[in-house]
């Protein structure tokens, strides 16, 4: 077993361990932290597979951003452990059947087609080889159409996030110093010219009204 294989199996076993802890540990915050460990191990596995750009992006995007989101969701939901565990035995048969089905499907597919012997080792590259460069040369020329579609998917995500979580808030009363300074007398004050009524005429009108 070469050192590379050792590193691969080490990180892969850490990944499996962390993934198992994510679903079994009780405290949701700790489970989120184990998910961070799982992401890091997955990034290390990808580096041993020479996908360096994907590995760095996994750490940047998932550990940096998605985990923050998960923690917010964990905080937002106010999870009550006792309530969650109440339905455990009730949902066990359904969940068990689904889990067994999934495992059977995966074994069925993998056992026939997937084994390490069927895939040649990736060729080892020179020290100055850049995975990112190769990716860039393809992504912005050959695959430019999916790339632009990605932009629209992100746009949809922006609009959906705003539509789901924005609340209508009261219009704020805010001071605008520019408008304050530029205000002229004519904007605020209206001088109405009118004839002054004589005192006697005024009294007559009052008498008429009553």
């Amino acid at each position: 077993m070469t050192f590379l294989q050792f590193a691969f199996y080490f990180f892969a076993s850490v990944l499996v361990f962390a993934a198992a802890m994510v679903v079994t540990i009780r405290n949701p915050v700790k489970s989120a932290l184990f998910l961070v460990l799982a992401f890091f191990s997955a990034a290390c596995v990808w580096i041993t597979l020479q996908a360096e750009f994907l590995a760095i992006v996994l750490v940047l995007v998932y550990v940096g951003a998605v985990m923050v989101l998960f923690l917010f969701v964990v905080m937002m939901l106010d999870i009550n452990i006792a309530e969650l565990r109440a339905g455990f035995t009730r949902y066990l048969p359904v969940g068990g059947v689904v889990a067994v089905l999934l495992v059977v499907e995966i074994v069925f597919v993998l056992a026939r087609t997937f084994s390490p012997q069927q895939f040649a080792n990736p060729p080892s590259h020179a020290a100055d080889y850049s995975n990112t460069r190769e990716l860039g040369e393809l992504l912005y020329t050959t695959y430019v159409y999916p790339f632009e579609i990605a932009a629209f998917i992100l746009l949809v995500a922006i609009i959906a996030a705003i539509a789901l979580t924005m609340r209508a808030r009261a219009p704020r009363k805010r001071i605008d110093p520019v408008r304050q300074v530029q205000t002229r007398r004519e904007d605020r004050l209206r001088i109405v010219k009118m004839k002054s009524a004589s005192r006697t005429a005024h009294r007559d009108q009052q008498d008429d009204a009553s």
Binding site: L60, F72, M75, G136, T141, M166, R169
Partner: protein, 118 residues
């Protein structure tokens, strides 16, 4: 190529080692005499007022989602910046189209007030 990553692996190993040694030495050598009052949670000298699990405002979630989206956009920019001199004008304008679509989203969220915090 993978040999380039060996120093990083060494850093991880050394970092884990230093962290583990520091914690375990503290655990072994430090005096350990707990009693009830010492272990009780407190908040600025008072008893804890409430549970530490409190609900967050949903607006944090909105900020986090918008952050993820623009984080992804940055991830697309890295390979583009590296190969910019090889992909020519076509690649340049491909990225400009990508950014234009996201600028539409940015203007939308700005005008909608999603970036405002009252």
């Amino acid at each position: 190529m993978l040999a380039n990553y060996f120093p990083i692996l060494l850093f991880i190993v050394v970092g884990l080692g230093v962290g583990a040694v520091a914690v375990s030495v503290g655990k072994v050598l430090a005096p350990h005499k707990p009693y009830d009052d010492k272990l009780a949670p407190y908040e600025c000298g008072f008893e804890a007022f409430e549970d530490s699990r409190m609900k967050f405002d949903v607006r944090y979630y909105l900020v986090a989602i918008l952050f993820i989206i623009f984080d992804l956009e940055i991830a697309f920019l890295f390979p583009w910046a590296i190969v910019l001199d090889e992909i020519g004008a076509f690649g340049f304008w491909a990225m400009m189209g990508f950014l234009a679509v996201l600028v539409v989203g940015f203007i939308y969220e700005w005008k909608k007030g999603a970036l405002e915090w009252e």
